[in-house]
Symmetry: C2
Subunit: 125 residues, 2 copies
């Protein structure tokens, strides 16, 4: 996997990891059922600490995006278990809310926002 970590960013490393793994899944570079690298090897690749990768994996598990098999590893959730739970939908809505609000305030209309989203969807798929 080809991902870029910026230690200087205001976004914590473990979050950068989480987001880029999610983008990797969205774009199909990571397929459902596929195993993620071990926390140790991944950490070595990225030049970060093992625990930082581990934290990201557990955040992904909390989001219901990966399944962690104890003492074994992390696996991208399959489409069966990846079912857009009410909780997950609510989470995305909660994330989207401040973004939409700020967009509206700086003068974006419904069409602008829809267009921006469409652009991102194409860019991520």
């Amino acid at each position: 996997m080809f991902l870029q970590i910026e230690p200087q960013s205001d976004v914590p490393i473990y979050m950068q990891l989480t987001q880029q793994i999610i983008e990797g899944i969205a774009s199909g570079q990571l397929k459902p059922g596929e195993a993620l690298p071990s926390v140790r090897s991944f950490a070595a690749d990225l030049g970060v600490n093992m625990h930082t990768v581990n934290k990201s994996y557990h955040e992904l598990e909390k989001k219901g995006i990966v399944r962690i098999i104890p003492k074994s590893g992390a696996v991208v959730a399959g489409p069966n278990e990846l079912g857009a739970t009410d909780v997950q939908l609510q989470q995305v809505e909660q994330m989207l809310r401040p973004v939409v609000a700020e967009g509206l305030v700086i003068g974006l209309g419904e069409q602008d926002l829809q267009q921006l989203m469409q652009k991102l969807i194409k860019n991520l798929s």
Copy 2:
């Protein structure tokens, strides 16, 4: 202004403030040109520290949403100065990106996401 601060939240207080003020502007409860409460009185109302409110105001200024008049106060930016700068648009896009990615991963389609956004726009306006 009627806003709810949750000190226990994982979202920092100053960010909660920032987001809710933005929502207040989006919904018209706060009008362009209107002055925000003084950092002291607002802090007293909310039961938080003066500096926490001050931090939120400066974050809003950085976003180009309010204008800070030195030694005087913070004012909601007018529609003239609130012009959807390229920088601001890029910022919103950067905020939107991980949200869309996560939405796609949990199985939401373009229509689902558009619908969710539409719902939020109505809810915020």
